[in-house]
């Protein structure tokens, strides 16, 4: 699985960085989401799913392959 983020939709709540810190970070200046690891390690999959569920603005999502990539 791969993760995608759309910093334009991000509202900087930080839930992804809190739930899955190995996979998501926040830009130091803008505070917007950064993808740190895609594909994430299997051991972080559950945390990634939590992060997607917790994101208040729908700025991150899981895609099964890079072929599926489209703008969020």
């Amino acid at each position: 699985m791969f993760v995608e983020a759309n910093p334009e939709r991000c509202c900087g709540a930080g839930m992804c960085a809190l739930a899955a810190p190995e996979v998501f970070g926040q830009d130091e200046e803008a505070g917007t989401v950064l993808v740190l690891a895609s594909p994430p390690d299997v051991e972080h999959w559950e945390a990634v799913q939590d992060a997607v569920q917790l994101c208040p603005s729908g700025a991150i999502r899981i895609v099964m392959s890079r072929v599926d990539e489209q703008p969020i």
Partner: protein, 399 residues
């Protein structure tokens, strides 16, 4: 739809137990999680009490936060300008793209990493206040000695507000949050707070300093009016919320000795305990409020354009479909996903700061005061049913 639960006239606030949501609210949720509600001004709007429906409303941009569109679900003596569009910078009562512009200027200041970096300072502030409380007591009022000053000092430092002025600030913001206050008194308090922030912005223009407001003065093109309203919002939000969580949360732990003992013996449970206390206490007991800008169907109910919607955080956080046995305070449960910081693009900007403060403060209090207990019978603890944010007015404790 037939319903045995009557349509509420304004949001139910009457509580039977200090920690349980009003029973009228939970009965309504179990029967009709998206319900009609008659607003105090006679408007036939909606009250959303179910978890899924609450999330759906808060995430949906067709529901507006604009001040001139939303209605209060409680009878308030409000000054008439409440119904006018928000002044520049009052971002919680605006929609994108206006909201986005302000929020983007602040987001970088409240990241998880930045808030975690405040840990040593928050620990120091907490330790100082606990030492002072020990010197003065027992007994002590936990609100005055611990719950209010810690978040207050932290937000003052973060923003660059001289701490000496906090008493005046706290007095006026308490008036603003009192639901029974007269319109003139509320207006007077709002004017004083605004002047307080105007003076501060003026001071920051002259000497910006290494703090959030100083950074906004030098690093953005915000006007003084915008800076004043943003500062006011952050200062009020940083005070009233965490303070009530700390005091009401301590009261809840004292009333659940097995949970308190677990947290005391395993301080690393604090991360989880904070989420559960946020869920269980749901101190934002009135709103968030929205207004539909077009017809939207939520769980089979058609909400028409222009109709007001009030979301109940206690209702949603005590929805057994999402959190089994919601009436059980269980600091080991998975409570993340609660709506205590809201949902959608307005979700609390300061939530990571609040988390760090609570993760430090609760375990420190329990560690420093191993025999902490109430100094009065529990039923005599004055509850903030009369305030915009729930909690306790005072929490007399002994040790």
């Amino acid at each position: 739809m037939t319903s045995t639960v009557p349509i509420p006239q304004g949001i139910p606030l009457q509580r039977v137990q200090p920690f349980d949501p009003p029973t009228d609210l939970t009965a309504l949720r179990d029967e009709r999680p998206v319900s009609r509600m008659i607003y105090p001004d006679g408007h036939e709007g909606w009250l959303v009490t179910g978890y899924d429906a609450a999330r759906a409303v808060l995430a949906d941009v067709r529901f507006s936060s604009r001040r001139e569109l939303i209605r209060s679900p409680i009878s308030l003596d409000v000054p008439p300008q409440r119904l006018e569009p928000a002044p520049p910078g009052a971002m919680i009562v605006t929609d994108p793209p206006e909201h986005t512009r302000y929020r983007r200027l602040l987001m970088g200041q409240f990241t998880v990493r930045r808030m975690n970096q405040l840990t040593p300072r928050i620990q120091q502030i907490t330790d100082d206040h606990l030492a002072a409380m020990r010197k003065e007591g027992p007994p002590a009022d936990l609100v005055r000695s611990f719950a209010l000053p810690i978040p207050s000092l932290v937000i003052c430092e973060l923003l660059g507000v001289p701490y000496e002025t906090r008493d005046e600030f706290q007095r006026e913001s308490a008036v603003l949050f009192d639901l029974h206050i007269k319109a003139e008194q509320r207006q007077a308090a709002a004017t004083k707070l605004e002047r307080f922030l105007q003076d501060l912005v003026e001071h920051k223009r002259a000497e910006p300093g290494d703090d959030l407001l100083g950074g906004l003065v030098t690093g953005s093109d915000l006007t003084d009016e915008e800076l004043t309203n943003i500062g006011l919002l952050l200062l009020i939000a940083g005070h009233e919320t965490t303070a009530n969580m700390l005091a009401l949360g301590t009261f809840a732990l004292l009333q659940h000795p097995e949970q308190m003992a677990a947290l005391r013996s395993e301080p690393e449970l604090a991360v989880n305990a904070v989420e559960e206390l946020l869920r269980y206490l749901s101190i934002i007991h009135i709103g968030p409020m929205r207004a539909a800008t077009e017809d939207v169907e939520i769980e089979g109910e058609l909400i028409r354009a222009g109709e007001s919607v009030t979301v109940s955080v206690p209702g949603a956080n005590w929805d057994s479909a999402r959190f089994p046995e919601p009436e059980q305070l269980d600091i080991t449960r998975r409570a993340t996903g609660h709506l205590s910081f809201g949902h959608g693009v307005h979700q609390c900007l300061g939530q990571q700061l609040a988390r760090v403060e609570m993760r430090i403060a609760y375990p420190a209090l329990l560690r420093e005061f191993p025999t902490l207990g109430l100094a009065v019978p529990a039923r005599e603890v004055p509850l903030r049913t009369d305030m915009a944010i729930y909690g306790v007015h005072r929490l007399p404790v002994t040790w």
